[in-house]
Symmetry: C2
Subunit: 491 residues, 2 copies
């Protein structure tokens, strides 16, 4: 049944991404191009040799010969079209990465790997390029650190534009997979007066205008003026999502979350996206595990189905065979082990680590990567010690020192998801909140257990980490368009 | 062609929302309910009289008779299932809005308006309800102001859960409509060091921990410690989107934006969502107008196709016939008038207003509402005076006192969208930036014009305002799950 369902979902995603009708007809984007311009993608799909076309895009390569100039034009999709221009029409401003408008005729291509090309009758440069100042040259490959230094121009590079398109494919697939499974998409607030999970690692917010602060509050506490209290940027929408799941059952949100950590690793950002989902009437971990696995695999399927060309580009850059690794991922189920089993495995191999694994403590980054390597592929680690996990996780039925929760570890990245059953027993949760001095702030959260609160579970998945895992991009700064890290927030 | 395309897109959206295959087969959500529980929606679709079922949900109504108790159970979808329980099985804890698990048999219903019901053999209360403290009673209708006071329990009300489902339908439709039109979904940063548009109305951000601030920066300027500069919450992702459109052509983002205004109206929030899109190679307003119109209409179509029951619920509450108003919206094209024409219309009717319209000034709220009423339906107002619009808008070709921009005004709401062509001429933009003392901060933005920057245009649409318009919900606080306004940020 699950396999059958995947086929159906895939056919829906196919239609969203391919712009094709089921009858094989193609769309015409004419209403977005009132001047009759056609996108490169639809031109390649709907080529009618002999027809007149108007193409707009950037010059992606340029080869001047005596009589003709050959160029490839791209307009933001993975495809490019070859254009032949009589050299007399091709003036100086027309160079690598300049923006051009070409009027011409569709002709058969003599080459095998492209069906058609355009013979230009007119070429206009609508966006000149200052060649001297431009940091990227034609046919050159730059290390990601260099490309990142020119962050506002990075989307113009072949590699980064491919990453952007694949990222869009992944987030759209995540969204639609959940919608098709009966989840409702909701927004949870970025501004919150809860400071629970992220004690000491939250950002504080106030109006920039001190005048406004004084007008609305008092002089001493500018931070409390606008909202009458201290307000932070969210570290997780989970608690708010739980309130919504209390009426809607299955809900999710995909939005930014924030950490003011002073950590500089290839996996951390001060601002990143999380997909968070909550499922009411969920009394064991199984629905959480299968939802997570299905989201990861559906994303892999979409990439293989709609992103082949971009996968090849990204794979070539990072020297990875992405088609093969995604195929592999789809072939096997994710493994599940308990924290206890994981720890035994780590202790057996303790000499392989810089830092020894500690019984009862969190599993470090190097240990995570060891586990996925040793077990081979994604691993769910379930049933962790209660004392190292947050207050809202449900105590396990058979062992009160454990909580029913899960971390998903994946190759290359480590922790991709964290989820748990939520403690829905009023008296136990009340005690937990009191121990943590959160009883007052989170009285509303406790309240959810007083008023028809069923067993509930949920998880959060780092969106950039998922992209990093699927595309084997080691550094999340090479995924997010404008990464924010300590001492770094340009633009 | 546009009409044909709508049919295709609609068929894709149908499959996402309906959980049906094209062959009429239905999904089974079994993998999300390992205990064999079935959702109310799929139970009603796949009823097999005589089969055993497990249903989980909240008691939405309860009628006790001598031998049997009749209840409706809902699990977060618009549908409910009638369950008949021998009164001996129905203990005290089972009441309105308690969470229950029912095991029973599907039987034919004697009623015409429901095909089946469930004869319960077992009932378990998995989430008790403290009746004394619960603010909502059965079969009662409360004003929105009252419901809002219990914001964490609001999703449990019939009216608000319908609004949540319809909102999800709308945002999913917006996303997929753009994806199908060849747009790429991207994330733009919430944290930004640009303070351009929102001068004086932005929120400032710093780590809550003063210790961390001192560790990372210096004592005097806590606000500059983490990022080495002042960093704000975004008021618009447009400038960042333009950088991405410089490589990808057609991009959009749907995310939170912030204003620290001290204004308390039914249309304003400190945190709200915007759909923002940018289109490269766009040299007139037409593609912007048609994209906006298509998004609004596609949302209306989805509501009619997939939200009928919830539309009836929301319509009954607000005393509106939503099916009729959405049908009307789909029947006609949006009107387009210039600022000049709008102003003449307003001046002719100046005695109808509290505040007189001013030539060359912005159009006030009451004037906006007059225009849509007078013209009848949504109105694009184009070509505004340059001096009241932001620096990035492109000066009109034929009249340098005007800029090529558009506001979409809609009934009940006023301004729903704002869009424009962007000034892509380097020298003109440079001058504008210098006048506004933004040349240094926005040097990167100017740079986009040096490096193959084609004519570009885009728009922003208030997501809550769109929902408010389509569902005729007067106050945006009744749309957002946790609204943030001056002096108000609970939870």
């Amino acid at each position: 049944m699950a396999a059958f369902k995947n086929i159906i979902l895939q056919s829906v995603l196919n239609r969203i991404f391919s712009n094709k009708t089921s009858a094989g007809l193609r769309f015409n984007f004419s209403r977005f191009k009132s001047d009759g311009a056609v996108s490169v993608k639809s031109l390649l799909q709907d080529h009618v040799v002999g027809s007149n076309v108007l193409v707009k895009g950037w010059v992606k390569s340029l080869r001047k010969q005596k009589e003709n100039t050959f160029m490839h034009i791209g307009d933001g999709s993975a495809e490019q079209i070859q254009v032949i221009i009589p050299s007399s029409l091709c003036h100086e401003d027309c160079c690598f990465n300049s923006a051009v408008v070409v009027r011409g005729k569709v002709v058969q291509s003599p080459k095998v790997n492209q069906p058609i090309e355009v013979k230009a009758e007119n070429l206009e440069v609508v966006g000149r390029l200052d060649v001297e100042g431009f940091p990227f040259g034609p046919r050159k490959i730059y290390p990601p650190e260099y490309v990142r230094q020119h962050i506002h121009l990075r989307p113009k590079t072949t590699i980064y534009s491919a990453i952007l398109r694949l990222s869009s494919l992944i987030t759209t697939t995540l969204h639609n997979t959940l919608i098709q499974d009966g989840f409702i998409s909701v927004s949870v607030p970025i501004l919150t007066s809860n400071d629970c999970e992220g004690a000491g690692e939250v950002f504080l917010v106030r109006p920039a205008s001190e005048e406004l602060c004084r007008e609305m509050g008092n002089n001493e506490k500018l931070e409390e003026s606008y909202f009458n209290k201290r307000v932070y940027l969210t570290v997780s929408g989970q608690l708010h999502l739980e309130a919504i799941a209390g009426g809607i059952s299955k809900v999710f949100t995909m939005g930014p979350t924030f950490r003011s950590e002073n950590s500089r690793t290839r996996r951390h950002l001060a601002e990143f996206r999380m997909l968070e989902a909550e499922i009411a009437f969920c009394s064991d971990l199984q629905p959480i595990l299968s939802t997570i696995e299905s989201l990861v695999k559906q994303s892999a399927r979409s990439l293989l189905e709609h992103g082949k060309q971009d996968l090849a580009t990204v794979g070539a850059y990072y020297k990875e065979n992405l088609e093969e690794s995604l195929d592999d991922l789809l072939k096997k189920g994710f493994s599940t082990i308990t924290y206890r089993q994981a720890l035994e495995l780590l202790l057996e191999n303790k000499n392989s680590f810089n830092k020894s694994p500690q019984d009862g403590a969190d599993i470090g980054s190097e240990h995570e990567l060891f586990l996925v390597k040793h077990i081979g592929g994604p691993v769910f680690v379930v049933d962790w010690p209660a004392k190292i996990k947050p207050f809202y996780m449900r105590t396990a039925e058979d062992d009160h020192s454990l909580v029913s929760c899960v971390d998903l570890l994946v190759p290359g990245v480590g922790e991709l998801c964290g989820g748990s059953l939520r403690e829905n027993r009023h008296s136990i949760l009340k005690k937990q909140l009191e121990i943590q001095s959160l009883a007052e702030t989170l009285n509303w959260y406790l309240d959810l257990r007083r008023f028809g609160g069923p067993p509930t579970g949920g998880f959060g998945m780092g969106v950039e980490r998922l992209i990093s895992y699927l595309l084997k991009i080691p550094n999340v700064k090479d995924i997010v368009p404008f990464p924010r890290t300590p001492h770094h927030c340009p633009m």
